[in-house]
């Protein structure tokens, strides 16, 4: 255990049921969004730096964040059927998306990830249940992993991340598994089943990829962070259910720091636990 920061409350540096976190690959800052629709920026050490609020949030709050190589913060604005991009100080850069079930439209975008070329991948649930690809300026390219995709269909893909080979790793939450997609959108492999044992998941949510290539998964229902290798083999897990430090209550997210630390978004405890593991 390296550090714990946050705590319940509305003040800067505190959280009200945080739902997503991400780490900037540029400066290592940590961004966290909670149910007050605030996006807060912390230093890599967990010191509060800045915050801003989403322009609208009456309908609901965002559930996913990602930072690209230009240090832009991408937000899946779930209940407004759009994706927004901000600079590190919260100035809106642009937005795209509208409500609907057609190509390039959203019902509930719940995950966003940026690939090496800057393409934006958006995961959805609530009817569309698919992953759509957009150009860096928000033009629709194509979709995959939808209901018509057979075994490749993902239901509530909350966590998405790219590995060094450009493969997309996705937490298929409602199917309790982790999927790996090739860059053409076809399913390469999937791992896991419902349960609490090794190699099993109970609504996996957040996902991150370490420098070594191993995968970290926030196993929300099992209150733990799971590490697995790229062949789907269970390596280890960290955390048990509870309120004490070292325990977790419904972790929604996980992210890797530049220095090798791991940020665990301990949502129901309104805090982030930083571990080296």
């Amino acid at each position: 255990m390296r550090n714990v920061f946050g705590g319940p409350g509305l003040s800067p540096g505190q959280f009200s049921y945080p739902r997503a976190l991400t780490v900037s690959p540029v400066d290592g800052c940590v961004y966290i969004v909670d149910k007050t629709a605030r996006i807060q920026r912390f230093s890599a050490d967990g010191n509060y730096e800045h915050q801003w609020r989403m322009p609208e949030y009456k309908n609901g709050k965002p559930t996913s964040l990602a930072v690209d190589g230009q240090n832009r913060i991408w937000v899946a604005d779930t209940h407004y059927a759009r994706v927004m991009a901000f600079d590190r100080d919260g100035q809106e850069l642009f937005r795209f998306g509208r409500a609907g079930e057609g190509p390039g439209e959203f019902i509930f975008p719940c995950a966003v990830a940026i690939d090496a070329k800057g393409y934006v991948y958006v995961g959805e649930y609530g009817g569309n249940d698919r992953i759509s690809i957009f150009t860096p300026d928000g033009k629709y390219v194509r979709s995959f992993a939808d209901r018509e995709s057979g075994d490749a269909w993902v239901e509530r893909p909350v966590g998405m991340a790219f590995d060094a080979d450009g493969q997309l790793w996705v937490t298929d939450s409602c199917h309790h598994r982790i999927c790996c997609f090739r860059d053409d959108g076809t399913l390469k492999d999937s791992f896991g089943r419902a349960g609490s044992g090794n190699g099993e998941f109970n609504y996996p949510y957040g996902l991150a990829i370490e420098k070594t290539g191993t995968i970290l998964i926030a196993d929300r229902g099992n209150n733990r962070i799971v590490r697995m290798d790229r062949s789907g083999r269970f390596v280890s897990s960290w955390g048990t259910a509870g309120r004490a430090v070292g325990q977790m209550a419904q972790p929604w997210g996980v992210a890797c720091a530049l220095r090798g630390n791991i940020y665990c978004l301990d949502s129901w405890n309104n805090r982030v636990q930083v571990i080296h593991w």
Binding site: I107, G126, R220
Partner: protein, 1016 residues
Amino acid sequence: MGGIFSLERFDRPAYLWLVLLIVVFWWMSRRSLSGLGPIRGKLALAARSAVLILLVLAMAGMHRILKNDDLTVLFLVDQSRSVSAETRKQAEEFIRKVATGMPTNDRLAILTFDGATNIEQLPSRPGPDGGIHVPMPFADGQRPDRTNLAQGLRVAAACALDSTNNRVVILSDGIQNVGDALDAAKAAKANRLTIDVLPLRSEFGAEVVFEQLVAPPYANLHEQVPLRLILKSDRATTGQILIYQRIGQEEELIDLSPDSPGSGQRVTLVPGRNAFNVRIPIQSARAHEFRAEFIPDDKTADTMPQNNVARAFTNVEGPRTVLYLGTRADEADNEVLVEALRREGIRVQWEQAESYMLDTASFQDFSAIILANVPAELFSAQQQQALASYVRDLGGGLLKLGGDESFAAGGWQGSIVEEIMPVRFDVDSLKQIPRGALAIVMHSCEMPQGNKWGIETAVAALKTLSRLDYFGIVGWGIGGYVWEVPMRVVSNKDAVVSQIRRMQNSDMPDFDTPMRMAYKALVNCKDAAQRHMIIISDGDPAPPSTGLLNQMVGSKITCTTVSIFPHGGQEIAVMKRISDVTGGRYYSLSQAGDEKQLPRIFTKEARIVRRPVVRDEIFKPQVRPHLSEIMAGIGDDLPVLNGYVVTTPRKVVDVEMPLVTERGDPLLAHWLVGFGRTMAFTSGRWKHWGTEWAGWPAFSKLWAQAVRWCMQQGSAANYDVLTTIEGDEGRIVIESKGEQDGFENFQQFVGRAIAPDGTSTNVNIVQTGPGRYEGRFTLDEQGTYLLNLISSGGREVEPTMIRTGVTIAYSPEFRDLEPNEALLRELAEVTDGRVLTLAADAKTVFAHNLPPTVARRPIWEFLLKLALFIFLLDVAIRRIAVDPIKTLAYVRGYIASIAGRFSPGKQAEQTLTGLKDVREKVRSERTKSGAAGTEASGVPRPPRVEDAAAGAKFEAGPGAARPAGDLTAALGGADAQTPPQPSKPASQADESPPESTTARLLKAKKRAKDQQDEQK
């Protein structure tokens, strides 16, 4: 704050005297520690002393003192009706302004208050939008018709942080009509709270207030009832007064000036109070409610229309009426009984329960109420409460008839109405009745106060169930989907309620898993005839699989869905599909306030599994031995009935149960409860279950006797009764007159006041003069308060029942419109606060001019831990001897060996050096021993006392037996008494070629051996 030993740091400073024991302690320790040597002895003594001091400090209750200059400002904003919308807006703008510029380390909290207090924001530091983290404008309060500033101050004090300074800023007009704010301010002062006030002034302009309408509590039929109207105006104006008369559910305008056009009476008001009298003819014998309204000619002469109305009522003695409530579906059944009662001369007012607005005021019209197969969900919790109060407190009668929508089958189980009935609606044993099973999928967290409403709804559903039914709740807990309440028979409802109240459900990812859990549990309830599922959610979770829904249909499990504040159409579609496919119902709650419907919806849904309590079978009613006057002249041969609702008799002697079914279940039962009477007839539905009863000659006689037994006992008009409103209190004055001496003294009254929401309270009536009695009761809300008083009687007065009441036509917020700035200033003075204006800025409001906060934290736990540590240290000092010289040598050697490991050459050199040292040491010791003692006796000298003391404590003392000789000798090794070899001259050594150390050692060994051989 003084130094570290300032008395303020201690809870019990007297214990500090115990420190003096240290002198005794030292004196005692001198002997016990004398054998440890000077350094260890002193260390041990110091450790012991430290332990003693720490224990004394802990006993004295030592605290750590924390000083803090940070500030928390708690805004307390008046939301009552006496503050105009414009003024509220100004107040909010003021808070927004100062919150924008507040210091970053300070905190801001916002509380709004009217009759209740609402915490909008707990103390928080500023965020991206400044110090305000909640939406503005603030939501309307819960009780805007009252102002309870005192409660607001108490809640603010509870929200204050003890780690910072705290300042309450009250934004109010100071008009309070509940509680005493000054008392609360004094308590706040004691808690180091400072109160600043910002008086709000609402401009209402010219105003006319209808202060009171006075009507006599009792009147006779065809009498002209005198009404007295009192109005207050702040300027001269003209207008007309209209008076409406309400009889039953209808209200009609009375023509006060038949000779002129219009129905009102023209009046001219002068500044101050104005009184008028009118007389109203009474045409019917029942309760009459009057409503008087003033309409100004010049609209600018009166700003607020809310306070232009007043109400009063009068009871008119005459033939009594019974209210018959039935549903439209049972119209033919109801007609049978209504006609029978009317044939017997009973006045019956027959109403449809679906549309009839049952309220406290309407109870005055009726001597009894009949509920004919009416389900519970047609009455709100407030109406059910009022119904119970009508019986218990007003002495009314209630007759409940059976049917498929009545008793437990109608969702009445667990209601307050069940409590006043002579039978319990629950069924004690199975009685061949299959159980029901209800599973709830709880996802209420997505609505405001979602957890609270989830708990309320679950409790409401549980109450409706029988103790033989199955019940369970699935939710998303800390470990994923869990049974918050495991599916089981709810024989112990209290325990289940406790479990429900501990629920904390969270965001649910999908429906399939929890529905599958609920489905499996329901299927496992093998002996359940009805299985039902209810889902409460915003529809956000992923939908269930079609396969699961089909399985539910196949297992005849219905599912009702309740959408709470769905985000969009897709979510509604998901919820609708589940209910459509499984044959359940769909409810949508999307507007603010809709959540209040939840308990009723769940009550209604839960009773689906209660259908088995209805028993459709032909039976002949059995007459049991009884003393019931209802069965007088009826005989024992009653016609058969075709069905009834199963209930359980109360096992108390007060219940009369003259009729039972062939199975022994209650059919007709009645008892006295409170001031009133209730009766249960578990059958009914005369066109279905009671076809033979409808044609039975004794039918109307039986029911006439039953209804007359239930009817309210007559009231007495032998008293002069006056009720008035004084502030937030009602006052009743009773004058009792005897026939001879003019006064009837020393009577005892038992009184109950029934509020508009149906709740009742005791009214204490005391004698205040000859024949004069007075009592007071609290008026919390707008509406009609009914009073029922039972007198004990006296020498010339029979025990009687007096019914009267008062009506609050409008909120007291509209009565007093002048700001009470004097009160606000007093609050500030009492707490050393300031009077602010709307021009004040953030710097002023957040001024750090309060003495720094001093927080005391108890440290006894730390002191005890430290004492324990030092105690162990003390033990170690006394038990473990450490020779500093040896330790130092050891450390040096260790360091050298470490260094040597990294340098092989040096290591070899050090080894040789070490051997040399050993050799030199042996030589020098031999030389010394030869000089000191061995040469005389040839026996080694015994070890000295000092040497023993330097060893471990557990070594034997100087007098103990020791081996004769050292350990080497005892083992047969070299003896220390071996005489030393004469040393070679230095010159010879210098001249000889250098020898290796090993060679020299070998030679020395050989020499020693030779010498030994020679000695032999």
